[in-house]
């Protein structure tokens, strides 16, 4: 086996190219889903689910295994880590920019604070940057997104919910 000659950094770099199945413009590294990598006889990858019922969890885990297999790594173990729970704050700055360019408003920062969930917060339109926007539906095409509409440019857009 060649696994022992691989560095942790190398594995992380490979994994940084794995796309998220539901928002393919983002990688799982952008989302902050990969918690840690331990390189030993087996490569152990710690991943965290975004939502309890996220249907993408298994697909993501399989993609991680497939990616490492493609690089010649045979022994891969996926460890699901729950604590601390994932929050949208873990989405990287790079990831937020990619989301915006893709037409999805990135989550407001500080998502762990309760008042943000209950208070009203202006969500900027990813197209014209106007803050004059309104909720169309708390739920969108996937569990992690809400539907919004810009009241200025009238474009509907999705907002990555802040949790």
């Amino acid at each position: 086996m060649v696994t022992t000659s691989v560095s942790r950094e190398q594995v992380l770099e490979w994994l940084s190219e794995v796309p998220d199945p539901e928002i393919p413009v983002l990688t799982i590294a952008d989302l902050g889903i990969v918690r840690d990598v331990t390189v030993d006889k087996t490569i152990v990858v710690d991943v965290t689910p975004t939502y309890s019922g996220c249907p993408a969890t298994e697909v993501i885990e399989q993609s991680v295994v497939d990616t490492l297999h493609a690089h010649g790594i045979e022994n891969v173990e996926i460890r699901r880590v729950l604590s601390p729970p994932w929050t949208t704050d873990w989405i990287t700055e790079d990831g937020r920019n990619k989301l915006r360019e893709y037409g999805i408003a990135p989550p407001a920062a500080g998502g762990t604070k309760r008042e943000l969930l209950h208070g009203k917060r202006a969500i900027a339109c990813p197209r014209c940057a106007s803050q004059n926007t309104q909720v169309v539906s708390e739920f969108g095409s996937t569990a992690c997104k809400a539907s919004y509409q810009c009241s200025d440019c009238l474009e509907p857009f999705e907002y990555f919910k802040c949790i």
Partner: protein, 293 residues
């Protein structure tokens, strides 16, 4: 808000509850036989397994009720909300059942817990197995239950069982979001038209009899509270009452008075509705044992 560290012991006290025989129904008989002292290693294990399984049961049965409504909602956005919420509960059920399988140590998977147990082995609350009824019934049920579940999860994040605390921390964020959404609907229905007000008031009045069970601590609850620094149901009940009253006030609805409360779900004694639901839920696995795809 933070009542009751002091009341933990009082509430949990050496259990002389009459429920001992009935309560342990889902755990293995050999384990409960001969155990008398509360807090021994084996009663501690038994309580943890039973408690974890119940948490899974509540999440799964509620999810299944909501899944029945998929493709039947009056409008698209609520259709999506309902399906997304159900998905969260299923995710939570999977985490609780996986853990229960590990605790039990007999190689049962999350699917075995969901699909290969009989009605009386499910220890969910009667409240959530009630038929979904009309939209107002569903919303009323979700607000009543999630107001409780959120407080329970908050308390569970502080319990001494690490895994339960982790799952609760994950789930708490989701339920907070559900509750906010469904509360807005309850207010809109209650403070809406004369017809919507009357119908949703009836929903609340009908479901109210099933809320007592949420707070009626039995032996498993007491053991879990004592052994794992778990939730104190008396304290949660006070907070729940205050919270629900505030919502109903805003919705111009009336809080039902004290009355007779149904019980038994936690011990596996269910209303007739659950059997039909489980029969449908387990149809494939029962008809084609070992089927996979």
């Amino acid at each position: 808000m933070n009542t009751g560290k002091g009341s933990v012991r009082a509430a949990a006290g050496p259990g002389k509850g009459a429920g001992r025989a009935a309560v342990g129904a889902s755990s293995s008989p050999e384990k409960s036989a001969g155990q008398t002292a509360v807090g021994t290693a084996s009663s501690r294990d038994r309580a943890l397994l039973a408690y974890t399984t119940r948490l899974g049961d509540n999440a799964l049965i509620l999810a299944q009720r909501m899944i029945e409504l998929v493709a039947g909602y009056p409008e698209l956005e609520e259709e999506l909300a309902n399906a997304n919420f159900a998905l969260d509960y299923i995710g939570q059920a999977r985490m609780f059942y996986s853990y229960a399988g590990e605790l039990e140590g007999k190689g049962r998977s999350e699917d075995d817990f969901a699909f290969l147990r009989d009605e009386n082995e499910f220890h969910n609350f009667l409240l959530i197995e009630q038929p979904s009824g009309h939209f107002g019934d569903s919303i009323a049920k979700l607000v009543l239950f999630d107001s409780f579940y959120l407080l329970l999860l908050e308390a569970l994040t502080r319990c001494s069982d690490e895994r339960i605390a982790e799952i609760a921390a994950r789930a708490e964020k989701e339920i907070r979001y559900h509750l906010r959404h469904n509360t807005q609907w309850l207010v809109r229905l209650g403070d809406g038209t004369e017809a919507s007000h009357a119908r949703v008031q009836e929903s609340i009045d009908t479901l109210w009899q099933y809320t007592g069970e949420l707070f009626a601590a039995d032996e498993i609850d007491q053991l879990f509270t004592e052994c794992f620094d778990g939730p104190v149901l008396g304290a949660i009940q006070e907070q729940w009452q205050t919270h629900v009253k505030a919502i109903l006030d805003e919705a111009t609805l009336t809080l039902p008075g004290d009355g007779w409360m149904a019980s038994g779900g936690k011990q596996g004694r269910h209303s007739e509705h659950l059997g039909y639901m489980i029969a449908e839920m387990q149809y494939l696995q029962r008809t084609h044992p070992g089927a996979s795809w």
